[in-house]
């Protein structure tokens, strides 16, 4: 793949992250008092709106793609042997898939999971 494609991905996730991270910070810190924002009842009620679940999912994907692609860049600049380069690219994909899957599990269970005590 052309590296300019991957940089376009890096830039566009960066621009999206500005919006999403800003919303996230405001919701946690300004919109409601912090202690309310992190209380179990608040999160439960907010999570179970579709809008917020989709927002969190977008934040998750955008930030992790951007972050791991950033680390991929750093690792390529660090070493250049052929096996290293191969493993870095593969590892990046694996890391993104694994972390997005784990984060999505939280979001999905929060929306659909049975409420325990």
């Amino acid at each position: 793949m052309k590296e300019s494609r991957l940089m376009l991905l890096q830039y566009s996730t960066a621009v999206l992250a500005v919006v999403l991270v800003a919303i996230h910070l405001v919701m946690q810190g300004i919109a409601t008092p912090y202690s309310t924002a992190i209380s179990y009842a608040t999160i439960l009620s907010i999570y179970r709106t579709w809008f917020y679940a989709i927002f969190l999912e977008a934040l998750l994907v955008v930030v992790l793609v951007h972050g791991f692609n950033g680390v991929r860049i750093i690792l390529h600049e660090w070493r250049q042997t052929a096996p290293w380069s191969r493993w870095v690219d593969l590892g990046t994909v694996v890391a993104i898939v694994a972390t997005v899957a784990f984060g999505s599990r939280t979001v999905i269970l929060a929306v659909f999971g049975g409420v325990a005590g």
């Binding site: 179990y40 439960l44 972050g67 599990r105 269970l109």
Partner: protein, 157 residues
């Protein structure tokens, strides 16, 4: 040349070239901080995936669980945890604002165009707009940090 001599004489700076901007320009410091903050934020995000998972009972949980959430809150919602959060706010805002400067510059938009050189020469690409924007990023980060300190240590929790 023996391979031993070659190795000794190779002289690439290695990681100190990334991390030590001493003797160089202001923008070089921004480069270092962009890189360090990027990795730091990613590390935080990964940890954050872990702690938020306790909302649904942790990595093996199956749905929202108040006891599990109370457990993790007890671990992270304290002065040390809040100090980490404040640092995260600081570096995220710097990284984001400086990142916008980089995107715009790397797309060749605020650099000016090549032109005949007049001495004493100052490189166009390092003209003052770059320094101004880096200071704006620092200022935004500090304002955001102040706000986070107020919220987390302002006594209103």
């Amino acid at each position: 040349m023996s391979s031993g001599a070659e190795g000794k004489a190779k002289n690439r700076r290695g990681l100190s070239g990334w991390l030590n901007p001493y003797h160089y320009n202001f923008e070089r410091w921004a480069y270092v901080f962009q890189r360090v903050t990027g990795v730091a934020i990613l590390a935080y995000v990964i940890g954050h995936l872990g702690d938020t998972s306790f909302f649904v009972g942790g990595p093996t949980g199956t749905g929202p669980s108040e006891s599990s959430w109370t457990f993790i809150s007890g671990l992270v919602e304290n002065s040390f945890g809040h100090l980490i959060l404040i640092l995260v706010v600081l570096v995220v805002i710097f990284h984001g604002a400086n990142g916008i400067r980089l995107i715009v510059s790397e797309l060749g938009l605020i650099l000016g165009r090549p032109s005949p050189i007049e001495y004493p020469y100052r490189p166009k690409s390092l003209r003052s707009v770059q320094r101004v924007l880096i200071w704006v990023a620092i200022a935004l980060a500090l304002v955001g940090t102040g706000w986070a300190v107020l919220i987390l240590f302002g006594g209103s929790i």
